[in-house]
Amino acid sequence: MPKDGGIGASTKRREDIRFLTGTGQYTDDINLRGQAHVAFLRSDVAHGRIKGIDTQAAAAMPGVVRIFTGADFEGIGGLPCGWQVTDRQGNPMQEPGHPVLAQGKVRHVGDPIAAVVAETREQARDAVEAIEVDIEELPAVVDMKAALAEGAPKVHDDLSSNLCYDWGFVEENKAAVEEAFAKAAHVTTLELVNNRLIANPMEPRVAVGDFAPHSGDSTLYTTSQNPHVIRLLMGAFVLGIPEHKLRVVAPDVGGGFGSKIFHYAEEAFCTFAAKQLKRPVKWTSSRAEAFMSDAHGRDHVTKIELALDAENNFTALRTETHANMGAYLSTFAPSVPTWLHGTLMAGNYKTPLIYVNVKAVFTNTVPVDAYRGAGRPEATYQLERVIDKAARELGVDPIALRRQNFVTEFPYATPVAVEYDTGDYVATMDKLEQIADLAGFEKRLAESKARGKLRGLGVNCYIEACGIAPSNLVGQLGARAGLYESATVRVNATGGLVVMTGSHSHGQGHETSFPQVVADMIGIDANMVEIEHGDTDKAPMGMGTYGSRSLAVGGSAIVRATEKIIAKAKKIAAHIMEASADDIELKDGRFTVAGTDKSLAWGDVTLAAYVPHNYPLEELEPGLEETAFYDPSNFTYPAGAYACEVEVDPETGKVTIESFAAADDFGNIVNPMIVSGQVHGGLAQGIGQALLEGCVYDENGQLLTGSYMDYAMPRAADVPFYSVDHSCQTPCTHNPLGVKGCGEAGAIGSPPAVVNAVVDALQRAGHTGVTHIDMPLSPSRVWSAMQG
């Protein structure tokens, strides 16, 4: 039984009190004295040349402070890209500029052209309407293959084509893979689309820039998952402000799912304008703006081929993917279809030979970047769909085919450059069969049939790579950042602790789960530990929260800093009790000299650190504060097996999720309640992708899904009660907590389960020609598939 408030306890979240009572502080709740408001004029065409901007009438409107255009940003850096991919020939990717406000051309609907700063939001919006822009509309490229065609209009005139990179992985394996395909007993081929999505955290983005003329210091309040990263990127590459003159604060953040990792133009604009105008400048995105300016996700078009031998062993895998980058390279965009996707193509299986080809393409659409799972859902979806198709073609049970090909010995080096430290895919599949009651499926099938509904079962596995690391490896792969995390633990004289972490919660409950770890290590009440995050002036450095890394990387840094605290506190205790530090034991918040009844309370020692009257001053500095940077030696590899049962209405094609079960292995777990919640949320997003969500552009690059009228978000009535289990635990071998990460699993593992289930339902009903339907599986798509 875990100790209340310690590791393993479903401790109730302390942050809930403020969120439940309307006393949270989100960025839009910040209003600074004298603040002005910004409204952006955004392009309403996908591609065009700016021939002139007339701001005269707008500038004379009531309340207008100043109007900025691209010309104001001449000589100032553009938004940087944080990852450089190298192509098959060893050349760097094509990397276009990304100005804060458009210069010369607009490249997607929503590209910001001008910004009005006015006394009120309404005045700024009014003045935007009065700006006259003369744009010569140019032909737009939207479809990726058309964008690569000879003579296609170029998104960036200064690049040789719309191809960002042509990446091959592992290039050296290409010939061997071809050979394996030539020898295969069976080859299954599947072409599919991983639909473009919009993250849609419920809190729209907000930026408030501030400037202190007396000190020359700039501050940016922003809706960010990683304020330190924004400080570095914006300060060093865009505005030229050194870190010590720039503070970035992300207070309570209302969801992100990846879309709040990236450095956006509006953040740089508000920081810049505040300095120019010497007053605070605030921008709050409308949802309409969010649809056309938040980075989108997914948008891969893939052909995957699986080769099997006569015994149904997987012998090789080959994929060709076109990945949409949109009009500019968002912060981590190039890494998503490459290192976060190609390295996952082995999945849970011992396929010996794999070759992945990805062509990343510029189009006149919003930039595409990481969205919950980022590359890993795309890998999982194609792999788990092609395995299902292969099983059907071979007439074998899809679960048996998976089991036969599972990796069973660890550590396991995949042919796509990663080494799985631990896992037990048989155990998670066994658990799934139990919690999903797969044995009872036939009975439920008959019941559905009696109701006139088509029932289907879809099962799949997934593997994930979390906590992307280590820094020296990712540097070789093109990352322009380190991927460690830092923590400072400050112990106060009276024994309470403040933990300052570079991880930043946007809903994950760090303020509750991180103290559970620290309290457990010391043996004190978790309420004695406070978490500070989201402010570059507090934590020393941070890489933030994404890629399911907070506990595995950020938590490990906290462990390391706490270990240093304990080591020093033991020396202090040893001095006071006149013993050797090696003989001091810390348990339940008391220091004891081993084998004696001599002991000191935690608070006695912390007080001595700050009132060092009886203290080893010749050996130790007073005070009790330690910092640690933790750089993981490997990714972590959560994995699991998911099952979905659907009913399809044969008259309308409407799909309902009848049940969804998820058996995950996340290694050790600190707060099971929070972990389950993370899985639930991921499942809803994956089900949303599979059934409801899809971002649509027309052939001219107009965004047709620009509001919640057209972009279908999952609502309470669209999803079932999920059955989730994380009792299969193979602890990570290389981080001190043995944890793996759980934030993205649900979104990674669920789309193939849903699609496998719908195809199964149709197949069982005699629609044997239906081997695939592209997501989202809307009633019209499913109905059309049934019509042949």
């Binding site: 403020r18 969120f19 439940l20 309307g22 955290p201 609502r715």
Partner: protein, 164 residues
């Protein structure tokens, strides 16, 4: 710009008055003129429900109500339902069942669920899912929101029975 109008309303039991432009939305007046920042703005188009408040006994999306339409109205926001010192049972159950993560949709969820349980004190799971369909949550997958509302209904009915 039209002249400002003088509005009087009761918010969370307190009489308040303010000036506002005729085009100002209720959510903007609440958040920016009255400093009631519990209700949030998630979409400005009535779809997400983050701005849900209770207006004269009905759940409304305050992003699509002109402040002028609320003149003389009685409004309850999440701040009027419970406080950090004294959580309402709905708020307690949301915490108990982990019915929130980032918290941004939560004030709207609580305010809507509070009205839902007055409209229907014994809702089924399906009635809760449809009764909450106007409120989007991107974090929780809704499971624990539904469970929290079911648990709150049970608690509230038991308390009512005990009082009778």
């Amino acid at each position: 710009m039209a002249d400002k109008i003088h509005l009087k309303m009761t918010v969370n039991g307190q009489p308040v008055e303010t000036l506002a432009e005729p085009r100002e939305l209720l959510i903007h007046v609440l958040r920016e003129r009255l400093d009631i920042t519990g209700p949030h703005i998630g979409c400005e188009t009535t779809h997400c429900g983050a701005c849900t408040v209770d207006l004269d006994g009905k759940s409304v999306k305050s992003c699509t109500v002109f402040a002028a339409q609320a003149d003389g109205a009685e409004i309850t926001t999440v701040e009027g339902i419970g406080s950090p010192d004294k959580l309402h049972v709905l708020q307690e159950m949301f915490r108990e069942h982990h019915g929130l993560q980032c918290g941004f949709c939560t004030p709207g969820m609580i305010t809507r669920a509070w009205r839902l349980l007055q409209e229907n004190p014994t809702p089924s799971e399906e009635e809760i899912r449809f009764g909450m369909a106007g409120n989007l949550c991107r974090c929780t997958g809704y499971q624990n929101i539904v469970k929290a509302i079911m648990a709150a209904a049970t608690e509230m009915n038991a308390a009512k029975e005990a009082a009778e």
